[in-house]
């Protein structure tokens, strides 16, 4: 454990001082502050919406939640994708391993340090957002809101840590940094974008819906065929299927869990069910901040657990691989 802490301390200094982290931090910081401003505008325009709307309310296309859904993976992966293979290539790994520490101290220390940096990023960003919003709105979050914000922070850290562990797994599996970058980007594009297209196509294929046509449709007809129970059932079925396919993506799970915690009850996530459309905006009529935290947690507990399990699996896989790998210097 002492070895882990030494590695962690050094890695933390490295990460916090790295250009990569500073650029990411500056970008996220800027966008978050803007989204807090937008969120505050949203609240002023929609009376009855709650303080938490600063995270999802948007006027010009994006909010903090969509930002995290789509760019969170990049933050996590960026801190992990070259953690191991960079040191392997440069030869510093073999020098470190020649010291009297256990091999797992290195990977533990690295993950610990990167997770701490991610937490710092999330906590400080959300803190600043609240500050900006309070100064615009003139009122702050209630105690219930604060607990929801805390939970949302934790969820976001878990989500980012999942991507971090995935990145570290890639950096353990591959010898070349270029390969692990490519893997990271592919997985990100798949989870953030492609999965929705796949879900749409599969839904279309597996649950075919023939649109009613012919004499049934027309003015003056007392029964609207679009409202027939059969058709509605089919749409419902397709919707459920698509949602389940989208749940393969951790981004979607995070989206669902996050919207429930922030009080956007009723699935579909931020952006009124349209997962793919960045900045779909939240439906003001649903954004009432209703429901309490325990209720929300009970609803999205499976999603949160899935993220945690995913993170642990990635960590364990890279841990095992790293311990078994031969350390040949220079390659």
């Amino acid at each position: 454990m002492a070895g882990s802490l030494t590695v962690c301390r050094k890695e933390l200094a490295d990460v916090l001082g790295s250009k990569r982290y500073i650029v990411l931090f500056a970008l996220i910081f800027l966008m978050s502050t803007m989204s807090a401003y937008q969120g505050a505008q949203f609240i002023s325009n929609n009376t009855g919406s709650n303080f938490l709307a600063i995270f999802y309310g948007s006027q010009f296309g994006f909010s903090f939640t969509t930002l995290m859904v789509y760019f969170g993976p990049i933050i996590g992966l960026a801190l992990g994708f070259d953690a191991i293979n960079k040191e392997r290539t440069s030869g510093s790994l073999s020098v470190t391993l020649c010291q009297p520490i256990y091999r797992d101290s290195i990977i533990n220390g690295k993950i610990l340090a990167a997770t701490a940096s991610l937490s710092l990023l999330v906590v400080s960003t959300i803190g600043i957002m609240c500050g900006v919003a309070v100064s615009i709105l003139g009122f702050g979050p209630t105690l219930a809101d604060v607990s929801k914000i805390g939970m949302y922070m934790l969820l976001t850290v878990i989500y980012l840590a999942f991507w971090l562990c995935l990145g570290i797994l890639f950096s353990t599996v591959t010898k070349k940094i270029s390969t692990s970058i490519l893997m990271s980007v592919s997985v990100w594009i798949f989870c953030a974008m492609v999965i929705s297209i796949v879900a749409g196509l599969l839904g279309n294929y597996l649950v075919p819906i023939s649109m009613p046509s012919g004499p049934g449709i027309g003015r003056g007809n007392s029964t609207n065929p679009f409202n027939s129970p059969e058709l509605r059932a089919l749409f419902q079925q397709r919707n459920t299927l698509e949602t389940n396919i989208r749940r393969i993506s951790p981004s979607y799970l995070y989206n669902e869990a996050g919207s429930a915690i922030l009080g956007l009850i009723g699935g579909g996530g931020f952006g009124g069910g349209g997962f793919i459309e960045i900045g779909g905006g939240a439906n003001p009529f649903r954004a009432a901040g209703a429901g309490d935290l325990t209720q929300a947690l009970a609803m999205v507990w499976p999603q949160i657990m899935a993220l945690i399990v995913g993170m642990i699996v990635c960590f364990a896989a890279s841990y095992m691989l790293f311990l078994r790998q031969e350390i040949r210097p220079g390659g």
């Binding site: 391993l97 020649c98 256990y102």
Partner: protein, 312 residues
């Protein structure tokens, strides 16, 4: 002779299909500089990794400084340092910060740390570059920093894997001198793996030659040389003002001379016993002048090639 500090018994390591180490038996004694010779891929690096406990042998045992390489590998890394081949550093950190980190990993108390880092930077001649980022270092400077990282824990044994590869002659000499000095002053046992024969000959007291994972021979350079010499005990090199066929024929006729090799105006006379007096007289009788006369030394290269031929 002093007591053994590294001992391996039947050490074997298989990578998928390759036998990197094949029942290796090796002994290194305390306080010596041991040269570990072999071409690329003979198993030198694997031996070092196994001795530092960084790779688990398929079978066999070994101890380093009395510790078992499997059970006590962490303790070995406390008393032994290694400069691996292609060693790298944290390029964003300065030399001092790199050394600091290594000290922390070794649990060296802070007070002691600052003092020994200062001394070491002096010893490896990096005191003026201590606060420069390693990315700006030349290859030789990095190599010297690597040596400092090995020594900072004040080890009993130091393993060096090709420490002078890719260095210019000046850098090579500096590192060689540093190693010899450390061995003398600190009684540091040095295990030097290299395929540069000249370097090993200049530095090491004893050498081991490894081929396809097996130790062919291990002894002092002098003993190895004598052992190869075998049948023709004495070889003397003469450099003459002129050489002709008659002279060679007459020298070959002298009792005790086995053969004469000619290389322009140099003659290498192989003899059963030292007959250089008779040979000199014969040369003078032929009207030639002796410009130089000396016993021929066998270089490590001859020894190496000879043993490789034998082993094949």
């Amino acid at each position: 002779m002093s007591k053994p500090i590294i001992q391996t018994q039947e050490l074997t390591k298989n990578y998928k299909e390759v036998k990197a180490l094949d029942h290796l038996d090796l002994t290194v004694f305390e306080g010596e500089i041991f040269g570990y010779l072999g071409p690329n891929g003979a198993g030198k690096t694997t031996t070092l990794l196994a001795l530092m406990g960084l790779t688990v042998p398929t079978s066999g045992t070994a101890t380093v400084g009395g510790y078992d390489i499997i059970k006590d590998s962490r303790k070995i890394r406390q008393i032994a340092g290694m400069l691996p081949e292609g060693a790298g550093f944290y390029e964003d950190l300065t030399a001092r910060q790199n050394l600091n980190y290594i000290c922390q990993l070794n649990d060296i108390p802070k007070l002691e740390m600052e003092k020994s880092i200062k001394e070491l930077l002096d010893a490896v001649d990096l005191r003026n570059r201590a606060d420069m980022k390693v990315e700006k270092f030349s290859r030789g400077m990095k190599q010297r920093l690597g040596i400092a990282e090995v020594l900072v824990k004040n080890p009993k044994i130091a393993f060096f894997d090709e420490p002078t590869i890719g260095l210019d002659p000046q850098g090579t000499k500096e590192i060689r001198d540093l190693l010899i000095r450390l061995n003398k002053e600190e009684n540091l046992t040095i295990f030097l793996s290299s395929h540069l024969l000249y370097e090993v000959q200049q530095t090491c007291q004893r050498v081991g030659i490894i081929r396809a994972g097996k130790l062919i021979v291990a002894d002092t350079i002098e003993n190895l040389s004598n052992r190869i010499a075998g049948k023709d005990k004495v070889v003397i090199e003469f450099e003459l003002s002129k050489v002709d066929a008659d002279l060679i024929k007459d020298i070959e006729g002298i009792d005790g001379v086995i053969s004469v090799d000619q290389n322009e105006r140099k003659l290498y006379v192989h003899m059963r016993e030292d007959k250089s007096g008779d040979v000199s007289q014969m040369i003078i009788k032929h009207g030639a002048t002796i410009l130089l006369m000396k016993p021929k030394e066998r270089s490590l290269e001859d020894i190496f090639i000879e043993y490789y031929k034998e082993g094949a």
